[in-house]
């Protein structure tokens, strides 16, 4: 390994881990290394969660022409600490007729499942906990098990709102999971691997100063858009936050949760967002690779976490902009627009793969996607056209 300052900064966490581990006997070292990595992941992401909650509350406030929290500490920066302390000291209420065991396990299942996803995400050069050959599959398998937690929470609460929220949640997540997987299959088709480190490696090269990220190809751009839409639905974020739509369902599946269990759901939701944003980064935005070749002097983990936070800002921006969808709109959008688009994208990727180098494939692939997008959009929008409201008796 080279010992330039840049390389040292790049590998600082790996070196730190190796230094910490070398105090232990050799037989213990692998296990201790893994435990250290797990501790780091479990420590870093709740920290980022606090930062992004603050960002969200302040940012959303600004978007809605108000200040957001500004009382706790200078400019309200200690608000997440106050929130955390508050949720720790609150009474933990379990409904009288609830299924107490399942009610208790549900938030744990959620948090464990979302944290498991990080095991395979490469967060920097050599910074991956388990370099699994089928990392992509593992990630989505873990992501899918959050549905279980949501249904456990909704079912065990014995509350109509919880159950409705949970049913909506499961329906929505299963629908969008198809689109999520389909849009990432495009990347797998090009890379020929399910290993996330290989996918990042394939994007970590430059033409001149510009990177070879998949988002800069026609199919990658379309795939990234579809992936983002599906990711937002998968993490129950606005405008797809029907499972917890507070205007009609109180708080959806976690209506009956209070205190620390509620905080765990909240944490799980945000860490899930980090996970899916990390996945989008890995698949389409070049993972930990620098956006311009001369920016490689900054460490790889810096780029990964920057992209993660930018994705979070995007999530917040979209939440501040779009109103919530209706259930039928949500389903129609998933099955009649996103899924067909991802299928077209798969065909597009195949064409891209077999047309070989040259400008022709850029034109052909872009035209195909654009035609599909415009055509499908036309059809969708025509169907959704609503005439003037007519009254039966009041005229």
């Amino acid at each position: 390994m080279s010992t330039t300052p840049t390389a040292t900064a790049d590998q600082i966490f790996i070196l730190l881990k190796n230094w910490l581990v070398h105090f232990l006997p050799a037989a213990w070292q692998p296990l201790a290394g893994v435990v250290l990595c797990v501790v780091a992941i479990v420590g870093v992401f709740p920290g980022l969660f606090a930062v992004s909650v603050l960002l969200e509350r302040k940012g959303l406030g600004r978007m809605q022409n108000r200040y957001g929290p500004n009382r706790v500490g200078p400019h309200g920066i200690f608000q997440p600490i106050a929130d955390g302390l508050k949720s720790l000291t609150k009474e933990d209420i379990v409904p009288f007729r609830a299924d107490a065991v399942v009610h208790f396990i549900a938030p744990l299942v959620l948090v464990v499942a979302v944290f498991m996803g990080f095991a395979v995400l490469p967060m920097g050069r050599n910074m991956v906990l388990v370099d699994m050959d089928a990392g992509l599959l593992f990630f989505f398998a873990m992501g899918a098990s959050t549905e279980l937690s949501i249904f456990m929470a909704g079912w065990s609460s014995r509350n109509k709102y919880s159950l409705l929220g949970a049913m909506r949640g499961v329906a929505q997540m299963i629908s969008y999971e198809v689109a999520l997987l389909m849009s990432s299959v495009a990347v797998v088709m090009i890379t020929g691997s399910l290993s996330l480190t290989k996918i990042v490696g394939a994007q970590n090269s430059y033409s001149g100063i510009f990177p070879h990220w998949y988002v800069f190809t026609p199919w990658g751009f379309a795939g990234f858009l579809m992936f983002s839409i599906a990711a937002m639905a998968e993490t129950n974020r606005s405008p797809f936050d029907l499972p917890e739509g507070e205007s009609e369902l109180v708080a959806g599946y976690f209506t009956e949760y209070s205190g620390f269990k509620f905080a765990l759901f909240f944490l799980g939701e945000y860490v899930g967002m980090f996970g899916i944003a990390g996945m989008a980064t890995t698949l389409f935005l070049g993972g930990w690779s620098a956006p311009l070749s001369f920016l490689q002097i900054l460490p790889s983990w810096f780029w990964f976490f920057s992209k993660l936070m930018i994705a979070m800002c995007l999530f917040i921006w979209i939440r501040g902009t779009l109103p919530r969808l209706r259930q039928d709109q949500l389903m129609n959008f998933a099955w009649k627009f996103v899924l067909p688009m991802t299928l077209v994208n798969l065909a597009d990727v195949a064409i891209w793969r077999f047309m070989g180098e040259g400008w022709l494939r850029w034109v052909a692939c872009s035209a195909m996607l654009l035609a599909a997008y415009v055509g499908m959009g036309r059809v969708e929008m025509q169907r959704g056209k609503i005439g003037p409201r007519s009254y039966r008796y009041a005229e």
């Binding site: 940012g59 022409n65 108000r66 200040y67 979209i318 501040g320 902009t321 779009l322 997008y373 499908m376």
Partner: protein, 225 residues
């Protein structure tokens, strides 16, 4: 095209977000405990009892000048029944100088009061009016929110301060009534004097009581003022 509206919306929120750092018009929030905006004149929340301040040095002036005669009309009209009145056995001179009963107990439970202003509208003596004081939080949710007559009694000057237009109208009306009552009393006295000692004077109380009740409908504060 599909997605156009989303981009427009994103542009709008981005403009709001960036604009909030440079233009004060985009941040309309008033930071309440530190900054406050003056209440508009028609503001009202809970009722208070008006007293006419005659001798500010007197610590009992609030009771002496209290316009309320404990007629209990407001207590009966109050829709949520949050007014509790006990009438006095003795009498004291009211705003027109006539001896009248006064409330020995006048409590309003502001946790029940719904600020409907019906008590104000029915009061024939201009004795109960709407206040603008809203910082009434207390650590005692039963006793602390039950305001007694001392807490409710506020001077006519205070009334002028919070609702100038309305208070001026009320004062004009009261002065007119007082003039009328005085004229009547003078006329009665003259008549009594003229009728000589043969017949005793007609008690003035019965005659003036007819004139006293103010028309309730004209009392409504003009919100547009």
């Amino acid at each position: 095209m599909l997605g156009e509206g989303i981009l427009k919306g994103l542009g709008e929120t981005a403009r709001n977000f960036a604009g909030s750092f440079v233009s004060a018009e985009r941040l309309t929030t008033v930071q309440y405990p530190e900054e406050r905006i003056a209440p508009i004149e028609a503001t009202r929340d809970f009722p208070f009892l008006v007293y006419d301040s005659k001798d500010p040095a007197d610590s009992e002036e609030w009771l002496k000048g209290m316009r309320c005669v404990a007629c209990q009309i407001c207590e009966k009209e109050c829709p949520p029944k949050c007014i509790y009145i006990e009438k006095s056995k003795d009498k004291k001179p009211d705003a027109l100088g006539k001896p009248q009963a006064y409330p020995v107990r006048f409590d309003i439970d502001i946790s029940v009061c719904m600020s409907c202003q019906i008590c104000v509208e029915v009061c024939p003596f201009e004795a109960i009016k709407m206040d603008t004081e809203f910082e009434l939080s207390t650590t005692d949710r039963f006793g602390g929110l039950m305001h007694d007559r001392r807490q409710l009694a506020k001077s006519n000057e205070y009334y002028h301060r919070i609702h100038p237009t309305e208070a001026a109208e009320v004062d004009a009306r009261l002065a007119e009534e007082k003039a009328k009552a005085d004229a009547k009393a003078a006329a009665d006295k003259a008549k009594a004097a003229a009728a000589a000692a043969a017949k005793p004077a007609v008690p003035a109380a019965g005659a003036s009581a007819v004139a006293t009740p103010a028309p309730a409908t004209t009392e409504k504060p003009e919100a547009s003022a």
